[in-house]
Symmetry: C2
Subunit: 223 residues, 2 copies
Amino acid sequence: MKAITDMSSRNYGQACSVARFLDQLGSRWTLLIVRDLLVGPRRFKELLANSPSMGPNLLTDRLRELQEQGIVRKVAAPGASATTYILTEQGLELEPVVLAIARWGMRYATVDESNPGASRPDLLVVAFRAAFLPERAKGVEEAYEFRIDDTIFFAQISDTVLHTGLGSATRPAFVLTTDSQTFDKIAAGTLDVIDAQERCLIDLSGDEQAFARFLDLFKGRGG
Amino acid sequence: MKAITDMSSRNYGQACSVARFLDQLGSRWTLLIVRDLLVGPRRFKELLANSPSMGPNLLTDRLRELQEQGIVRKVAAPGASATTYILTEQGLELEPVVLAIARWGMRYATVDESNPGASRPDLLVVAFRAAFLPERAKGVEEAYEFRIDDTIFFAQISDTVLHTGLGSATRPAFVLTTDSQTFDKIAAGTLDVIDAQERCLIDLSGDEQAFARFLDLFKGRGG
DNA sequence: CCGGATCCGTAACGATACTG
DNA sequence: CAGTATCGTTACGGATCCGG
């Protein structure tokens, strides 16, 4: 039995909207859970595997808080034991926050020895949204498919609006297959795309011109 | 004497840009310090007074971290003992993040008994930027001045771009004088502007039509 | 008086083991 | 698989004290 009136103790106690945001979402791991759920529905074990050092008790706490706040909802499919967590509408409205954070992080948060972890390809679904340059996509109407390591995801562009998600694209202009290491190096500017293509590190099947357009639509090192 | 190799211990250890952002700015009080510095230069004591429960030791730690990361710079004016803290260019680039956070907070983070603190008028300088609706400001070229409690600040609009800061406006279209309580109620939708004007809770001197335009340029309760 | 540094109690977190 | 229980560790909160 636990105290029911456990109303979040360590609040900032400021009337400011930024402080209130942080009262709800400022504690450790919380925004990373939201980030993971922006990719798609996730199960308890998946969230835990994404952030092993969090520990199951903390994940339980965070998910409970997020549910109480109306940001996350637990969805139980009847047949299987498929309890998954998804973002509510209010939770989906956190996407601008996460994308703004991702943009700053991509630009300024340096990669050093403290974050050695292998990058997770599924997070590219969110990273693409952050790196997208809408004004360059005027009139573009096409979809691309990516197969990085073992995850398949798509990017679909309809005249300045981008839609990304896990799974295959419908009628993709190209399908790009590679491993996450190679992709990371290209995104970081350490490796040139043409170079990687010549060295058979990436496989591109489809419209080469669409691939050139794609490269122009997202900001990597070269703007 | 302290350990020099104290490199931030509790990092997420993920390659994701969101995680790296939180490694640098995710600890308690950090983003609130950035928020305060977005208003303008601040002294140690001012930052401390804005968040009394932080304690001087934590403020010292946070300011040191922020300086090491190149987000904050300490500026010492030679004559007086005027050591103030300001944001570097990299720190100023955090504004989109803080504004996205503020927008979500304004919309969803409810005000309850846990954040009773009087709202600080100087933060309106940042709140205005978050609530600004650029598309409605096409062709507008004017400045407004506000005097809330004891702080004076301005909002200057030049065709979809807003500039706010502490201090007086140059040739303001109107000067609005009121107290923060009244202003908060109006912003929250609890009090109608016309009503407040009739009850002499706010004093408006200048162009009434400009005031109507102003109300349309920022999103309060009524969109 | 301002800009910190030191010290200590408490609450949050991290890791592992355990259970329906 | 989805959590709960337990416990050691770290970060935070509050107060007091120090040097220019």
